[in-house]
């Protein structure tokens, strides 16, 4: 087991979150730091995810590191029946750090137990995707100037959306107020509502995506309602349009409101929102590179140059 791995947002507290966010801010300010010169990062995508892989690989490349890996388990020996343990132990002979995505839940945790090199979880099934959470936090802090005492509305699929679950977990340190907006069948699971109650966090659940909720919010976190979550196709057709954000709905919102979305977007944010200065989802994706640079350099115990002065 190794302690510098980054597997779950649950594993880290407020000081570590802030250290990582500060590190991400450094990389935004110094995009050409060559801190990974001579380092080799393995990106093992047992499950394809082009967007996440490109973000991690951009993070490594911009820091001067090198990359080995695969983008699909079909091209690895997993397809020949090799165990995850053997794949990890083999790759650990070559690389300084492993970034892995796997369709099985807990795969990254297990990987940390079979190797001494740090493992960064780039998503394990429906379980955790902590670099997404970190970039969400970075985007919130950057646009609001703080993480404390914000009103965060989460909209869409709150039941299966792991990004909103992890964000609730991470924001528990920051006295947020949550507005959970979804259809009854896609409500925030009880365990996260319990987490809010245990931490004295005020929250409201509602099914209407009304102007009063938008106007009260600092962050509007939109998620995709996926067709495959519904057994009844008619129900999906009804629900998907109830949780679509259109530009006119932002008319009376706070000037500092920002709209976030983990992407890909389908129809839950109308295209006319894109030109609104409150739309932040494309910048949010760019912040993912800084957040991943922070995670990788931290996992490799690389000090930032300004620490030395």
């Amino acid at each position: 087991m190794n302690s510098r791995s980054f597997v779950s947002i649950e594993d880290i507290g407020r000081p570590q979150i802030e250290a990582l966010l500060d590190r991400a801010a450094f990389f935004e300010a110094h995009p050409d730091s060559r801190l990974l010169e001579g380092k080799l990062v393995a990106t093992l995508f047992f499950e394809p995810s082009t967007r996440t892989r490109l973000s991690f690989e951009t993070a490594v490349n911009r820091l001067g590191g090198r990359i080995i890996g695969f983008s699909d388990a079909a091209t690895s020996s997993t397809s020949k029946g090799e165990t995850l343990k053997d794949t990890i132990k083999m790759v650990a002979n070559y690389a300084d750090l492993i970034v892995m995505r796997h369709h099985l839940e807990g795969a990254a945790r297990y990987a940390t137990e079979v190797t001494d090199i740090p493992v960064v979880n780039a998503g394990d099934g429906a379980n955790q995707h902590p670099s997404q959470t970190l970039l969400d936090l970075y985007s919130i802090r950057k646009t609001q100037g703080r993480l404390d005492n914000l009103t965060v509305a989460m909209v869409g699929d709150l039941k299966y959306g792991r990004t909103v679950h992890s964000l609730v977990q991470a924001l528990r340190f920051y006295n947020p107020r949550f507005i959970f907006i979804s259809s009854p069948e896609l409500r925030m699971p009880e365990q996260y509502l319990q987490l809010c109650r245990d931490n004295g966090i005020e929250y409201e659940e509602r099914s209407d995506f009304g102007a009063d909720a938008i106007n009260a919010s600092d962050i509007l976190y939109m998620t995709r309602v996926q067709r495959e979550r519904f057994t009844d196709a008619m129900e999906y057709e009804r629900v998907k349009n109830l949780y679509t954000l259109r530009n006119d709905m932002l008319a009376e919102s706070k000037p500092t409101l920002r709209v976030l979305h983990p992407l890909p977007r389908i129809n839950e944010i109308a295209l006319d929102v894109d030109d609104n200065p409150k739309a932040y989802y494309f910048e949010q994706a760019r912040n993912g590179v800084y957040a991943r640079q922070a995670i990788i350099t931290s996992a490799l115990n690389i000090e930032l140059p300004h620490d030395e002065h």
Partner: protein
């Protein structure tokens, strides 16, 4: 004649272990955890016996067999009410409740088919809590399962 004999056969344990106050539904899981399916020692299993606070209970008496604390801790997962009596020379030399360990390894199968532990040749691992009821959380996928519903490997 048979009444006395039967009573004697159950009661007369010179050396061995008696595990009492097992919830009736958990009895056979307990037998499995103790590894008694293939024992050659004298073994008595009773189930659905009247019990004051459990309603019905199960009891296991096994001659000339003693277990480590580790084994009893596993019993605590499915039968937190169980009481273990150690018998030496017809005397109860020790009587104690089982206690739930904080971490349960290699005993329980994760209920999540998409958990890595169900897809790799590896030991399962759960973090256990017992308030108010025994609940196990998978160390890997974070899924929780009630102790009474846990599938024993």
């Amino acid at each position: 004649m048979s009444t006395d004999k039967k009573h004697l056969a159950v009661a007369a344990l010179r050396d061995g272990t008696v595990i009492d106050h097992i919830p009736a539904a958990a009895l056979f899981k307990a037998v499995r955890i103790l590894g008694l399916e293939n024992t050659s020692k004298s073994l008595t299993i009773g189930n659905n016996l009247a019990s004051g606070h459990l309603g019905t209970k199960g009891i296991i008496k096994i001659a000339d067999t003693f277990f480590t604390d580790d084994v009893f801790n596993r019993i605590a997962v499915i039968a937190p009410t169980a009481v273990v009596n150690t018998i030496r020379n017809y005397e109860v030399v020790e009587k104690r409740r089982v206690s739930l360990p904080a971490v349960i390894e290699g005993i329980v199968k994760c209920p999540n088919p998409k958990c890595i532990s169900n897809n790799e040749p590896m030991r399962t691992r759960f973090e256990a809590s017992d308030s108010p009821e025994v609940t196990l959380r998978c160390h890997y996928c974070r899924r929780t399962v009630a102790g009474k519903d846990a599938e024993i490997i």
